[in-house]
């Protein structure tokens, strides 16, 4: 933190998952952090400034209680305990008071000035529920402000409440026997824990909370006796005693201050929709249908028209010929002109051409995420994933991974089991991220008439790769075990906020443009240079004499069995894609002469299409989707997996899998379609057999297991 922020008050946002913390954070600080209608969107703390009152606001991952289960929940608790914010805004989802106030009762124990923001008041009002905030405030002993983070209601009052919050709240009282034990424990702990947290530590110690015990250290013995006495007297475990007392005092509070209109028990609209979309048989087909529609709109129709226009008119007719003519008219050196037009503009233009398709896709995905539909898919997927040794929790990282692999990999933190977390971190990037979308759209447009099925198939291959990897990796000694239980609340559906959709789409679109204008621009410049000169630094007339052609030819034989190794350009594209996947398309723009093609009035992608059979094109696509992700994602994998050795192994696994899948696609596909047969066809069948053996056999890695135990001995 810099000097300026040190002086300002730090305010933490704490609350249950999916109660609207990030929505409020974005509203108060003007940030645009990710919001989604499912629990577990935020996985790390974020800071922002509330200009109006000159304070720092910290957004935290949602938590159900202050006894965390997964790493991202630990982030929240540790922040509240160790950084001791000056005040807490405890967001409470007013449509779900009991459960939310359970956390509140624990927060109040911490002795930090707290303001309760009763969120979703818009929905509460629509349902005809009336909440008496005055009464609630009296009962809980701290300010309660009704707000709607989505609509921006109650913001002024909330800000006023935070700026004047300074009093230590009074904790929710439990029954006398419990309070007596708590004060005994407090006596033992006095001076050993920070003063303000005394009550909190005492209650947590009473619950035998692991982390509290750790922090308390040696005085645990005596405290344990106090708890034993209480448990004997009350004939129940101390933690369930505390929990049930908390719930009963909360429900007293709720009963006295909340008046619901509708009699509970009936089916809500959400329930009715859920009966269909999470149906055992219909769930998956409906999901496939929805995704097909999404790609049909974004790739084939609306987005596709936009892309055609940008490629053919904006770059093809205006930018490229215009820039070339302008530079020529000023008699700029032809080499420099070529660098700008054939290198920078052609490369970046090829990438930006896909922007319209991406924008439309972003809009549709944000709508699906924010409406609550995607949370249902995690639930539907859980049934499938479970058979493959993964849990539905693994779907959330995958879902986020469709935007960008880096946060997708980071989201694997929400998975409780260590092995599930590692397997998910290793396989999340199989799902096509938005940077891979241009490759998909390119192959779809060039070889398959822009069919949305290509995109759907790409995602299908991604999910399949993840599932197969679930089985394969599970058999690897260090990753075996059963998937953890999958419990996730299904939030009610709601109509996505227009502001959320626009903001999120704009953010993602802008990030794409920025990357194209910086990193991809540089890469295209270098690619052009390598493709325009030979080793003696003289310009080449034929690109096949260039340095890049030599480099490409040195590696391209590797990819011959995959069907696209005969032209070195495809291999070069694959390699530059390791820096950033957008580079694949940018490299093609430079190497296949987007600028010349455009000046001749032709379209570039059909030319590429003519160089490959559809099967080879699909094999190229599959390889680029599955092989090692970009450096940024590899770095994220390193952070989640912990060591470079494990990361290296994961990348190797990804490349081998990509190679095997692409070879099988090309060889067996060619055999079926064109009747070609050769040594590699045999290899492809052998690969299928090997894969089948690994999938079916109980201990395919028995040897490896032996080696590991030998090494350990």
């Amino acid at each position: 933190m810099d000097g300026g922020t040190e002086l300002s008050r730090v305010i933490a946002l704490a609350g249950n998952p999916n109660c609207g913390k990030t929505t409020l954070f974005n509203r108060l600080t003007g940030s645009s952090q990710k919001v989604g209608n499912w629990p577990g969107v935020t996985i790390d703390r974020k800071e922002g400034r509330i200009k109006a009152i000159g304070a720092v606001l910290v957004d935290l991952p949602g938590i159900y209680s202050l006894s965390p289960y997964s790493p991202e929940e630990v982030v929240s608790r540790d922040f509240l305990l160790d950084s001791r914010p000056d005040a807490i805004i405890n967001i409470v989802d007013a449509t779900n008071m009991e459960r939310n106030l359970y956390l509140t009762s624990q927060i109040l124990d911490m002795g930090i000035p707290t303001v309760i923001a009763l969120n979703m008041m818009d929905t509460v009002r629509r349902d005809g529920t009336v909440i008496d905030t005055e009464k609630l405030s009296k009962a809980l002993g701290c300010r309660v402000v009704g707000i709607s983070a989505l609509k921006g209601e109650g913001m002024d009052e909330l800000l006023e409440a935070i700026s004047s919050a300074g009093e230590t709240p009074k904790p929710v009282r439990l029954s006398d026997p419990l309070e007596k034990s708590i004060s005994e424990i407090s006596g033992k702990l006095e001076g050993k824990v920070p003063d303000g947290h005394l009550r909190w530590y005492s209650v947590k110690a009473l619950e035998r909370d692991v982390l509290a015990i750790e922090r308390i250290g040696e005085s645990w013995e005596e405290i344990s006796e106090i708890i034993d006495d209480l448990e004997k007297a009350e004939d129940d475990e101390s933690d369930s005693l505390v929990a049930s007392e908390r719930y009963s005092s909360i429900s007293d509070v709720v009963v006295s201050s909340v008046k619901t209109k509708r009699a509970s028990g009936g089916y809500t609209t959400s329930d009715r929709i859920d009966r269909i979309v999470t149906n055992r048989w219909l769930g998956l087909p409906i999901f496939a249908g929805v995704m097909f529609l999404v790609y049909y709109i974004s790739i084939t129709t609306v987005g596709g028209w936009g892309t055609d226009w940008v490629n053919d008119v904006f770059f093809g007719e205006w930018t490229i010929p215009g820039a070339a003519a302008w530079l020529e008219s000023m008699a700029v050196d032809p080499v420099l002109t070529a660098f700008i037009v054939d290198g920078l503009i052609a490369g970046v233009g090829a990438v930006l051409g896909f922007l319209p398709q991406m924008l439309v896709l972003f809009v549709l995905l944000v709508i699906l995420e924010d409406s609550g539909y995607m949370a249902r898919i995690a639930f539907v997927m859980d049934r499938v994933f479970r058979r493959f040794g993964l849990s539905g929790k693994s779907f959330i990282p995958i879902l986020i991974g469709t935007g960008c692999g880096v946060p997708g990999i980071m989201a694997s933190r929400t998975i409780e089991s260590e092995r599930g977390r590692r397997i998910t971190a290793m396989t999340t990037t199989f799902i096509p991220c938005s940077a891979k979308l241009p490759i998909i759209a390119l192959i779809a447009g060039a070889l398959f008439g822009g069919s949305a099925l290509v995109a759907l198939a790409s995602y299908f291959i991604g999910v399949l790769a993840i599932l197969l990897s679930g089985i394969i990796l599970k058999k690897w000694p260090s990753l075996s075990g059963t998937p953890s239980e999958f419990i996730m609340e299904l939030p009610p559906y709601h109509i996505p906020g227009v502001a959320t959709v626009i903001r999120s789409t704009f953010e993602k679109g802008w990030a794409f443009v920025r990357k194209a204008g910086t990193f991809i621009l540089l890469a295209c410049g270098i690619i052009w240079f390598l493709s325009a000169f030979d080793w003696s630094m003289s310009m080449v007339g034929d690109i096949n004499d260039s340095m890049l052609a030599d480099i490409g030819n040195a590696i391209t034989w590797i990819f011959v069995p995959l069907g696209w190794g005969d032209e070195w350009q495809f291999s070069v594209g694959t390699i530059t894609g390791l820096l950033a996947k957008e580079n694949v398309v940018g490299t093609f723009g430079v190497l296949f002469g987007f600028s010349e093609v455009a000046e001749a009035g032709d379209e570039i992608w059909p030319i590429i299409g003519a160089m490959l059979t559809p099967i080879a094109g699909f094999s190229f696509l599959a390889f680029n989707l599955l092989c090692a992700p970009c450096f940024a994602a590899i770095g994220a994998m390193r952070r989640e997996l912990g060591t470079w050795k494990a990361t290296g192994a994961a990348v190797l696994y990804q490349c081998l899998l990509a190679y095997a899948v692409s070879m099988v696609i090309f060889q067996i596909g060619s055999l079926l379609m064109y009747g070609t047969f050769g040594i590699w066809t045999v290899a492809a069948f052998a690969t299928v057999a090997l894969a089948a053996y690994i999938l079916v056999s109980k201990e395919p890695f028995a040897r490896a297991r032996q080696k590991i135990s030998e090494a350990a001995a």
Binding site: S31, L327, V332, L336, G403, C404, V406, R514, G517, A632
Partner: protein, 44 residues
């Protein structure tokens, strides 16, 4: 080499330097790809 070449050359060089600066900056902080979804870029 004429004046236009030098001027355009300098402009392109400036753009490339700026692009390098931006790329390095976003990659240095935790190998970020600049997607903004995780909020690291905003945290500074």
């Amino acid at each position: 080499m004429n004046f236009a070449t030098i001027a355009v050359g300098l402009a392109v060089a400036a753009v490339l330097v700026f692009a390098t600066y931006c790329s390095v900056r976003s990659f240095r902080n935790g190998k970020c790809s600049g997607c903004k979804e995780c909020g690291k870029c905003k945290r500074r």
